[in-house]
C-alpha cells in the first residue's frame, strides 16, 4: 500500500465529508466531484484503469454535470441553502450519525476479521478480460443494462416533460 492510496483515500473521505455537511447544494456537488475523482485514483491503484476512466468520464463527467445543470435550471442556490441550514440541526443529525458510526465500526470490525485474505499483491485486471466477460457470460446482463438505460431515457423524458399542471388529489392539501 503506497502513500498514493492513503492520500487519495484521505481526499475522498474529506471531500465526502464536505459533501454531506454543505448547506449549498452547488458546493456539495462540486465536492462530490472531487470525491469521485479521488476514488477514480484509487481504482487506478487497485489495478482497474479502465474503470477509473469510466468513473471520471461518466460519474464525474456526465452524471454530476447533469445534476449541476439540474440545480442551475431550478435556480435553487440561496433559498434551498437557507432551508438546509434551517433543517440540519444537531438534534436531527446526531442520532443517525451515531447509529451509522456504530454500523461502520461493526463493518470495519468484520472486515478486519480473520480469515484475513492472504496479504496479496494488487492484481491487475486488464480491460480486455473485463470486455471478454462482459460480452461473454454476462451478455444478457449487458443487454438488460442497455434496456435499463433505454427505460431511463424514456422515463426521464416522460416525467420531465412540462405538462399541463395536474395536481394529484393526494397533494391538494400540500399545495394549498
Amino acid at each position: 500500500m503506497g502513500a498514493a492510496f492513503y492520500i487519495a483515500a484521505a481526499i475522498a473521505i474529506l471531500s465526502t465529508a464536505m459533501v454531506i455537511t454543505r448547506y449549498n447544494i452547488m458546493h456539495a456537488l462540486l465536492y462530490l466531484i472531487v470525491s469521485l475523482l479521488s476514488v477514480a485514483v484509487i481504482f487506478y491503484i487497485y489495478g482497474a484503469p479502465f474503470m477509473a476512466a469510466l468513473e471520471v468520464i461518466i460519474y464525474a463527467g456526465a452524471i454530476m454535470v447533469l445534476m449541476i445543470f439540474f440545480v442551475m435550471m431550478l435556480n435553487l442556490g440561496q433559498q434551498s441553502a437557507g432551508d438546509e441550514r434551517h433543517w440540519l440541526t444537531p438534534r436531527v443529525w446526531i442520532g443517525p450519525a451515531l447509529l451509522c458510526l456504530f454500523l461502520l465500526a461493526e463493518l470495519v470490525y468484520l472486515i478486519m476479521q480473520p480469515p484475513a485474505p492472504p496479504a496479496g499483491e494488487i492484481v491487475m485486471v486488464d480491460p480486455k478480460a473485463v470486455g471478454k466477460s462482459l460480452f461473454g457470460p454476462y451478455i444478457l446482463a449487458v443487454e438488460l443494462a442497455g434496456m435499463l438505460l433505454m427505460a431511463g431515457i424514456v422515463g426521464a423524458y416522460h416525467l420531465g416533460r412540462q405538462k399541463k399542471k395536474i395536481t394529484h388529489r393526494f397533494l391538494e392539501r400540500a399545495t394549498q
Binding site: 500500500m1 492510496f5 475522498a12 473521505i13 465526502t16 459533501v19 454531506i20 462530490l32 469521485l36 476514488v39 484509487i42 481504482f43 487497485y46 482497474a48 474503470m51 469510466l54 468513473e55 461518466i58 456526465a62 452524471i63 447533469l66 445534476m67 440545480v71 431550478l74 435553487l76 432551508d83 438546509e84 433543517w87 436531527v92 450519525a97 454500523l103 463493518l107 472486515i111 478486519m112 496479504a119 499483491e121 492484481v123 485486471v125 478480460a129 473485463v130 466477460s133 462482459l134 454476462y138 446482463a141 443494462a145 435499463l148 438505460l149 431511463g152 422515463g155 426521464a156 423524458y157 416525467l159 420531465g160 412540462q162 395536481t167 393526494f170 397533494l171 392539501r173 400540500a174 399545495t175
Partner: protein, 101 residues
C-alpha cells in the same frame, strides 16, 4: 492486519456510511440523490477492490452495471424531482411523504 484489500474495503465502508448518514439527515431531495450516488460509488469501490483481490473481472463487470444503473437512476430521479418540485414548490421530502396512497 491492514492489507490492500482490507484498506480498500474499509474505505468503501467509510464512504458508504457517510452516504448513509447524509441520506438519513437530509430532507432535500437532491441531497438525498447525491447521497445515493455516494453510496453507489462506495459499493462500486468495494467491487473493484474485490476484483483486484481475486484477479477476476467480475468485480469490474459489476461496477459497470452499477454505473449504468446509476446513470439511469439519476436521470429518472431528477425527472421525478422535477415533477415534484413543480407540484409542491419545494424539495422537502417530508412534504412529499404526505403522498399517502
Amino acid at each position: 492486519m491492514i492489507t490492500s484489500t482490507t484498506a480498500g474495503l474499509v474505505l468503501a465502508g467509510i464512504l458508504f456510511t457517510m452516504g448513509l448518514v447524509s441520506m438519513l439527515i437530509r430532507r432535500n431531495l437532491i441531497f438525498m440523490l447525491v447521497s445515493v450516488e455516494v453510496m453507489l460509488n462506495a459499493a462500486g469501490l468495494a467491487f473493484i477492490v474485490a476484483a483486484s483481490r481475486w484477479g477476476q473481472p467480475e468485480g469490474q463487470v459489476m461496477f459497470m452495471f452499477i454505473l449504468a444503473m446509476a446513470a439511469a437512476e439519476v436521470s429518472v430521479g431528477l425527472a421525478l424531482i422535477l415533477q415534484l418540485y413543480h407540484q409542491l414548490k419545494t424539495l422537502d421530502s417530508d412534504e412529499a411523504s404526505k403522498m399517502n396512497g
